[in-house]
C-alpha cells in the first residue's frame, strides 16, 4: 500500500494534466469552427467538443483508450487494422533479433574473457560504438538490404540484434569476471580446465548480470525494430502504423500505436523480470 498509493497519485496527476492539455490544445479548432458557422459555444459545449474530435491535436485519454481497445479487441486478429497483428509482426522481428544479438553477445563475451588480445582490441571499440547513434541509420540499412533482395523479417531482426548485442556483451564481460580470485584459485587447485571453470563457476556467477543486460537488451531490440519499420513502403508493424498515422494526420492512431508499443515493451521487460526472479531464487542468489 505504501508503494501503490504514490504511484497511483502520480498516474492520476498525469491523467489530469493530460485532460487539461487536451482542452487547451484542441480549443483553437472548436473556436474556429464556431466562428465560421457564426455560433457561440458555451464552456460545457466546448469541453465536450474538444474531447470528441476526429483528428484532435492531442486526443483525450479516453479517446486513446477507445482507439487502443478498437485496435486490440474490435478487429479480427488477421485484419490489417488490428493492433494485435501489427504488434505480432513487430514482436516476431524483435524476438528473432533479440535471440541473435544475445547469442552473439554471449559468444563474444566468452571470447573476450578468455583471450587477452581480443579483450584489448575489441572492448574499447565496443564501448566507443555505444556513443554512436546507430539507431538513426536503421532505415537506411533496411533500404539497402531491400535493394539486395533481403526483405521481411531479417533486416529488422538484424537491427534489433545489433542494438541488443552491446548491452549483453558489456554485461556478460562484467559477469564472467565476477568470480573473485579465491574462487578461481580453488578451481585451479582442483586442476579444472578452462571449459570446466567456465561451466561451473563463470557462467553461474554471471547470471544476475545476464538478466540485467537482457532487460536492457530487449527494450533496445523493440525500439530498434520499431525504428526499422519507419522507412516508407513498410506496411506492417507498429512503426509502420506510427508512420502512416503521421502521414494522414490520424493522431488517435499514432497514440494507440504508441501505447501498444509501450504495453509490448512493458510486458517483455516484465516477463524477463519474472524469469530473473524465478531463476535467481532457484540458484540461491536471493534469500
Amino acid at each position: 500500500m505504501n508503494r501503490v498509493l504514490p504511484v497511483l497519485t502520480v498516474l492520476f496527476a498525469i491523467l489530469v494534466i493530460w485532460y487539461g492539455a487536451a482542452v487547451i490544445l484542441n480549443r483553437a479548432w472548436v473556436l474556429d469552427q464556431a466562428a465560421r458557422s457564426g455560433t457561440e459555444v458555451g464552456f460545457g459545449q466546448m469541453l465536450h467538443e474538444t474531447m470528441t474530435q476526429e483528428r484532435p491535436v492531442l486526443p483525450a485519454p479516453h479517446q486513446v483508450a477507445k482507439g487502443l481497445w478498437d485496435g486490440i479487441a474490435g478487429q479480427k486478429i488477421t485484419s490489417k487494422r488490428s493492433l494485435v497483428w501489427h504488434a505480432g509482426v513487430t514482436l516476431s522481428a524483435t524476438l528473432a533479433g533479440f535471440a541473435l544479438g544475445t547469442a552473439a553477445g554471449l559468444l563474444l563475451a566468452i571470447g573476450i574473457v578468455h583471450n587477452r588480445a581480443m579483450d584489448m582490441s575489441v572492448m574499447p571499440w565496443a564501448i566507443a560504438s555505444q556513443t554512436i547513434p546507430i539507431l538513426a541509420i536503421a532505415p537506411m540499412v533496411i533500404v539497402v538490404l531491400a535493394s539486395l533482395g533481403i526483405k521481411g523479417l531479417l533486416p529488422k531482426a538484424l537491427i534489433a540484434a545489433y542494438l541488443s548485442f552491446f548491452p549483453v556483451l558489456v554485461g556478460m564481460v562484467k559477469g564472467l569476471r565476477a568470480p573473485d580470485g579465491m574462487q578461481l584459485d580453488l578451481l585451479r587447485t582442483y586442476s579444472a580446465s578452462q571449459g570446466q571453470t567456465l561451466r561451473m563457476l563463470r557462467l553461474p556467477s554471471s547470471v544476475p548480470y545476464l538478466f540485467a543486460s537482457l532487460k536492457v537488451g530487449i527494450a533496445a531490440a523493440l525500439v530498434g525494430t520499431i525504428v526499422a519499420e519507419l522507412p516508407a513502403g513498410a506496411t506492417a508493424g507498429l512503426g509502420a502504423r506510427l508512420l502512416s498515422g503521421s502521414y494522414y494526420g490520424q493522431t488517435i492512431q499514432i497514440w494507440a500505436a504508441l501505447f501498444a508499443a509501450a504495453i509490448l515493451a512493458a510486458v517483455l521487460v516484465m516477463l524477463i523480470g519474472a524469469a530473473e526472479r524465478a531463476t535467481l531464487k532457484r540458484m540461491g542468489f536471493v534469500r
Partner: protein, 282 residues
C-alpha cells in the same frame, strides 16, 4: 578475388599476430593499451577497403572507406550545414533543456518522499519505453524545423536523467546526513554541500546515456518531416538517390559528434567527480 583482397587479408593476419604478441607480452603497459585497439581499428578499415575493392562490391551496396573519405572532404560545407541544423540546433538545445528540467524536477521531487516513491517507478517504466515513437506527434505540433527535433530530444533525455538524479540525491548515507544535522545545516546547505556533490556520479551516468539518445532523437525525428537540410533528411534522401558514400559520410559525422559529446561529458565528469573512487587510482 584480385590482389587488393589478398593483400588486405595478409595485412589482417600480420596485424592479428602482432596484436596477440603485444597483448600477451606488454599487456599492462600504457602504450599497449592505446596501440592494440588502434591497430585493430586500422585493420578493420584495411580489410573493408581491400575486400570491397578485391571482390568488386558495387558502391551501391557498400562503398569503400576511401570513397567515403573522398565524399566527406568534397561535401564538407553540406555536412557542416546538416551538422548545425541537426546537432547544434536540434540535439544540443533539446539536450540542455531536457537535462536542466530533469535535474530541477529531481531536486523538487526529492523534497517530497511521497512524490519520490510515486515518480520513480513511473520514471523507470517510461525510461524503458520506445519514446522515439513520440516523434511524429511532436513534429505535428512544433512544425518541421529544429524546434520539433529539440522537443523530441527533451522528452527522450528527460527520464533517464531524472531517474539517475533522483537515485543520486538519495545516495548519501545516514551517517553523512546526521553529520550535516549536527552542524545544524539548513536544507539548502545540506543540498549544496553534501547531496548535490554526492549525486554527481549518478547525474553524469544519466547525462552520458542521454548524449546518444539526444542524437538518435534528433536524427529520427527528421524522418517524419524536416526542412531540406539536416542529417536525417540527408540520409533518407541520399539513400533514395543511392548515393551511399554521402550516407556513410553523414554516419561518420554522427559518429564523430556522438563520441565528441560523450568525450566532453567524460572530461566534465573527471573534473567534477575527481573525488569518486572510480576516478581515482588510475
Amino acid at each position: 578475388m584480385s590482389w587488393q583482397g589478398w593483400a588486405a587479408i595478409l595485412f589482417w593476419a600480420l596485424a592479428l599476430a602482432l596484436n596477440v604478441q603485444i597483448a600477451n607480452r606488454y599487456g599492462n603497459a600504457r602504450w599497449a593499451r592505446v596501440f592494440v585497439p588502434t591497430l585493430f581499428g586500422i585493420t578493420l578499415l584495411v580489410l573493408w577497403q581491400g575486400l570491397v575493392r578485391g571482390l568488386a562490391v558495387s558502391p551501391v551496396i557498400l562503398p569503400a572507406p576511401s570513397d567515403i573519405a573522398a565524399r566527406f572532404v568534397q561535401s564538407l560545407p553540406l555536412l557542416w550545414g546538416d551538422f548545425t541544423q541537426t546537432i547544434l540546433k536540434g540535439a544540443l538545445s533539446g539536450y540542455v533543456i531536457g537535462c536542466t528540467t530533469a535535474v530541477l524536477t529531481a531536486i523538487a521531487v526529492d523534497r517530497f518522499p511521497f512524490l519520490q516513491r510515486g515518480l520513480l517507478p513511473v520514471g523507470n517504466f517510461v525510461a524503458a519505453l520506445p519514446i522515439v515513437g513520440i516523434a511524429p506527434i511532436l513534429v505535428m505540433w512544433f512544425g518541421f524545423d529544429w524546434q520539433s527535433k529539440a522537443a523530441v530530444v527533451v522528452v527522450m533525455v528527460f527520464f533517464p536523467v531524472l531517474v539517475n538524479m533522483v537515485a543520486g540525491l538519495a545516495a548519501t548515507d545516514a551517517l553523512q546526513r546526521d553529520l550535516m544535522r549536527t552542524y545544524s545545516a539548513s536544507y539548502r546547505d545540506a543540498l549544496l554541500k553534501l547531496r548535490l556533490p554526492a549525486a554527481m556520479p549518478f547525474l553524469f551516468n544519466g547525462l552520458k546515456i542521454a548524449t546518444t539518445l539526444a542524437l538518435i532523437g534528433a536524427i529520427v525525428a527528421e524522418f517524419f518531416g524536416s526542412p531540406t537540410r539536416g542529417m536525417g533528411f540527408r540520409i533518407s534522401t541520399a539513400v533514395g538517390q543511392l548515393d551511399l558514400p554521402l550516407v556513410w559520410a553523414e554516419i561518420a559525422v554522427a559518429a564523430l559528434a556522438g563520441s565528441g559529446i560523450f568525450g566532453l561529458m567524460t572530461l566534465a565528469e573527471k573534473a567534477v567527480t575527481f573525488w569518486h573512487p572510480s576516478q581515482r587510482g588510475r
